[in-house]
Amino acid sequence: MELTAVQQDALVEVINIGFGRAAASLSKLTGQRVQLEVPSITMCPVDELSDRLRPVIQGDVASIHQIFSGSVVGDALLVIDRQSAAILKELLTNEPALPLEIDASAREVLTEIGNILLNACLGTFGNLLKVQVSFSVPHLGLETLEGVVSSITVDREGLRYALIVHAAFRLKNSSLTGYLIIVLSVASIERLIRAIEQWERDQR
C-alpha cells in the first residue's frame, strides 16, 4: 500500500492545520516565533520503519510516545535525535540543557513539546474522522531507534502501517527536524485516508 500523490498532498494539508495550531501554542508559550512545517509525508509497514528512518536519524533518539484509543486505536510518537532534542529545549527555554539523562526539567519540556504536536495532529484527525479518541499520558524515552519501534503497542500481531511526518521546527534562525510517527492498523489507516479524500473533495 502506497500513498498516491493526491493523498499525500491532502495529508500534508490536513497535518499543516494541526501543526499551525501547535506552532501557535509553542510561540505563545515561549514568547518567540516558532514555525512548524511538513516538508513530506511517507507511509510504510511498521517492519520497515527502522530502515526508513535510519538514514535521517543518527545515533540515539528521544521519543515522546502516546497511545490513543477509542473507535480508532494506535500509537503516536515524536522521534528526534538526541542532539537536536537538547538544542530544541535550549532554544525554547533559553536555558542550557544538561545531558538529557540527568536533566529532568529538559525531559519534561520535550515531553510537553511532543504532547502539543501529537495532540494537535491527532486532534485534527479526530475532527476529520468525527471520532473522539482518548490518549494515554505521554512518555519520554531515551533509546535507540530499534527500541522505539519495538515499543509500538498497537495490534502487535496484525499488519500495521506507519505514517512518517517530517516535522521541521524553525525558530531563532535555526531549523531542526523531528519525525512524527502515527501507527495504525490497516483498517484504521484506510478509514483515515478515505476520510481525508472526502475532506479534500469537500474543500473544492
Binding site: E108, V109, N115
Partner: protein, 548 residues
C-alpha cells in the same frame, strides 16, 4: 470529608478518592465539566493553604483567576475534549500560584510541573483531573549540579590561563636574559679583536659590560627569589629596622637612573616613624622595586613621590608616580607572577614582570599588605605598603623549615622592671630596645660587677628588678659567677629574683649548667626577641611579678 469532596457526583468510589486524597505526595484535584472543583486532596489543602471545604463547589478559575490570564484554561478545555496535557516547569514555571516550599530558590511561588487530563466515565468526559508536582528539590539539585560543572569549567579555564602565562613568561625570560648577554658578548669580542684599544673605548666597553652584567644578576636574583618563595625556602633575617633609613638607601640606588630620565624623586619622610620588625635587605629590595618600577613607567620630566609615615597601628610607605598608570583591566593582576600588562614582544618596557610579584610576597612575609591604585592609563599609579609597627607584629608566612621558633605575638611586659646583663654592646642594645618595646622598664649592665652594683642601688631604693636577663659568656666574671653571687644575697637584696640565662649556641650543656647554677630558665642564641620576651614573662609570672 471524602463524601464532601465528591460533591454532586457520587459515582466515584469513595475509598479510591480517599486514597488519592490522603496518601499521595502530589497535588491532585478534579473538576466537573463546568470546571467546578469536586476533589481537592490533602496535599492541595496543605500547599494551597485552602481546605477542601473552602474550594469544593467553586469554579477553579474563580479560585485561581490567573489560570485564565496565563492561558491555562485552554488546557482544561482540551481535557474536556479528551486530551492529556503536560505542563512542564521549563515552559510554565507553575500551574497554580502556591506558596514556595523552598525559599532559597528565590521564587515567589512553588515551582511545579503538572498534567491535566480528562475525567472519563466510559466514553463520556465528565470533568478534568490535574496532578501537580513540587519540583523545588529537583531544581535545587540541578542548580548544585550546574554550579559544580561551572566550577570545573572555571578551574579548567584558570589552569589553561596559568599555563599560557607561564609560556609567555618563558619567552620573556629567554628574551630578557639574552639582551644583556648580547651587549656583554658584543663588547667583549670588540676588545678581543682589537690589537690596541683606546682608553675611552675601553672605559665605555667596561661600563656597558658592567651595567649589563649587573642587570642580568638582578634578573637572576629575582628569579631565584621567586623560586625560593614558591618553595617556602626564603628566610628573613628579622630585626628592628628604621624604614626611613632603608627608604633613603633605596632612593640613592635609583637616583642615577631617575636623574638620567630627568625624573624628580621627592621624599616625604616622617621622622616620628617608629621602627618596624623586618629584614632590612628585603625591605630595601621591596622599596627599590617600587621605585625603579615608578621610574621605568614615568616619562621624562615626571615626578615620583615617596612617603613614609605612621598611620594608626601601621607604618605606611607610598610610592606615587605621574607615569603611564595601570588600566583597570590589569589592575587586579599587577601583583601576579609572570604577568605584565603587555606580554607582546613589542612592549616598550623590559624586565621579567617579577618585581611586583616579589614585592607582594616579601611584604606579606613581613606580615604587611600592599595595594596598587591607578585612575587608569596615563593617570599615574600609587603603590602603598602597610607594615605592622605595633609591638611584635605577627610575621606572616615565615617558612616553617627556617629552624627558628614559630614567631607569634610577643607578650606584654608592661610594668615589669628588668635588669639586662650583657657585655657586648650591640646585643645589649638590641635586648634593651626589644624588651622596652614589650613594655618593660629596662636597666642594663655591661658586666657582672655593674649588675651587682645596680642591685645594691635598687635594693636601697626598694625598687628591685622583677626579672634578671643575663648573658652567660662574659669576660672576667661570667653569667654563672653572677647568678651564684646573686643567689647568695638576702631576699631583700635581690637574692630571689628570677633569672633567665641567654646561652651561647656552641655549648649545648650550658642550659643545664645554668639551671644548676641558679637560673630559672634559659634561651639560646641567636637572639630571638619574641622567644626571650616569652621566657621573661614566664619567669615574672612564676614569681608573681606584676605584669599589667
Amino acid at each position: 470529608m471524602a463524601d464532601e469532596r465528591l460533591g454532586e457526583d457520587r459515582r466515584l468510589p469513595a475509598a479510591l478518592v480517599r486514597w488519592f486524597s490522603e496518601l499521595t505526595y502530589q497535588g491532585l484535584f478534579a473538576t466537573d465539566r463546568d470546571l467546578r472543583v469536586i476533589v481537592w486532596n490533602r496535599w492541595m489543602e496543605i500547599h494551597s493553604e485552602r481546605t477542601a471545604a473552602e474550594v469544593v463547589g467553586r469554579p477553579l478559575t474563580e479560585v485561581y483567576p490567573d489560570l485564565c490570564t496565563r492561558g491555562l484554561e485552554q488546557y482544561y478545555r482540551d481535557a474536556l475534549s479528551g486530551h492529556i496535557s503536560v505542563i512542564s516547569y521549563g515552559l510554565h514555571r507553575y500551574v497554580l500560584h502556591l506558596p514556595p516550599t523552598n525559599r532559597d530558590l528565590g521564587f515567589n511561588e512553588m515551582p511545579q510541573s503538572g498534567r491535566i487530563g480528562p475525567l472519563s466515565d466510559g466514553d463520556t468526559v465528565i470533568g478534568t483531573v490535574t496532578v501537580l508536582e513540587d519540583v523545588s528539590d529537583r531544581l535545587a539539585s540541578d542548580a548544585a549540579l550546574r554550579r559544580q560543572i561551572d566550577v570545573q569549567q572555571m578551574a579548567r579555564v584558570a589552569a589553561e590561563k596559568a599555563l599560557r602565562a607561564k609560556d609567555e613568561f618563558l619567552s620573556t625570560v629567554s628574551h630578557e636574559i639574552r639582551n644583556p648577554l648580547n651587549a656583554v658578548l658584543g663588547w667583549t669580542r670588540i676588545l678581543i679583536d682589537r690589537k690596541e684599544v683606546e682608553p675611552d673605548v675601553l672605559a665605555r666597553a667596561l661600563r656597558v659590560i658592567d651595567r649589563n652584567a649587573a642587570a642580568q644578576v638582578r634578573m637572576i636574583d629575582d628569579l631565584l627569589d621567586v623560586a625560593r618563595i614558591a618553595s617556602g625556602k626564603l628566610r628573613l633575617e628579622m630585626q628592628t629596622v628604621d624604614l626611613v633609613a632603608v627608604t633613603l638607601a633605596a632612593v640613592d640606588v635609583v637616583a642615577p637612573s631617575a636623574t638620567a630620565k630627568q625624573i624628580e624623586v621627592r621624599t616625604h619622610l616622617d621622622p616620628k616613624t617608629p621602627h618596624v620588625l623586618g629584614d632590612p635587605q628585603r625591605l630595601q629590595q621591596v622599596i627599590w622595586n617600587l621605585l625603579s618600577n615608578a621610574v621605568k613607567f614615568t616619562d621624562p620630566g615626571g615626578v615620583v613621590d615617596v612617603s613614609v609615615a605612621p598611620v594608626g597601628k601601621v607604618t605606611r610607605l607610598a610610592v606615587r608616580d605621574t607615569g603611564s598608570g595601570i588600566s583597570p583591566d590589569f589592575l587586579p593582576f599587577v601583583f601576579e607572577r609572570f604577568r605584565q600588562s603587555d606580554a607582546s614582544s613589542a612592549r616598550r618596557h623590559g624586565g621579567l614582570g617579577l618585581g611586583l610579584a616579589l614585592v607582594r610576597e616579601l611584604v606579606e612575609l613581613h606580615g604587611g599588605t600592599v595595594r596598587a591604585e591607578s585612575a587608569g592609563s596615563r593617570q599615574g599609579a600609587t603603590f602603598t605598603i602597610d607594615l605592622p609597627t605595633a609591638k611584635w607584629a605577627e610575621v606572616g608566612r615565615q617558612p616553617a623549615k627556617s629552624g627558628t621558633q614559630p614567631v607569634s605575638e610577643a607578650p606584654s611586659l608592661a610594668g615589669l622592671r628588668l635588669l639586662i646583663v650583657e657585655n657586648e654592646a650591640d646585643s645589649r642594645e638590641l635586648l634593651g630596645v626589644t624588651m622596652t618595646r614589650c613594655g618593660a622598664e629596662v636597666t642594663t649592665a655591661s658586666s657582672c660587677e655593674e649588675a651587682l652594683a645596680v642591685l645594691r642601688y635598687a635594693a636601697a631604693a626598694k625598687a628591685l628588678p622583677h626579672v634578671i636577663l643575663s648573658d652567660l659568656g662574659m669576660p672576667e666574671a661570667d653569667g654563672f659567677d653572677l647568678i651564684r653571687k646573686i643567689r647568695a644575697l638576702a631576699a631583700d637584696d635581690g637574692g630571689r629574683i628570677p633569672a633567665v640565662a641567654v646561652t651561647g649556641y656552641v655549648d649545648r650543656d650550658d642550659g643545664r649548667r645554668a639551671l644548676d647554677a641558679g637560673f630559672q630558665s634559659h634561651v639560646a642564641k641567636p637572639i630571638d626577641p619574641i622567644a626571650i620576651a616569652v621566657e621573661v614573662a614566664r619567669a615574672a609570672r612564676a614569681a608573681d611579678a606584676p605584669i599589667e
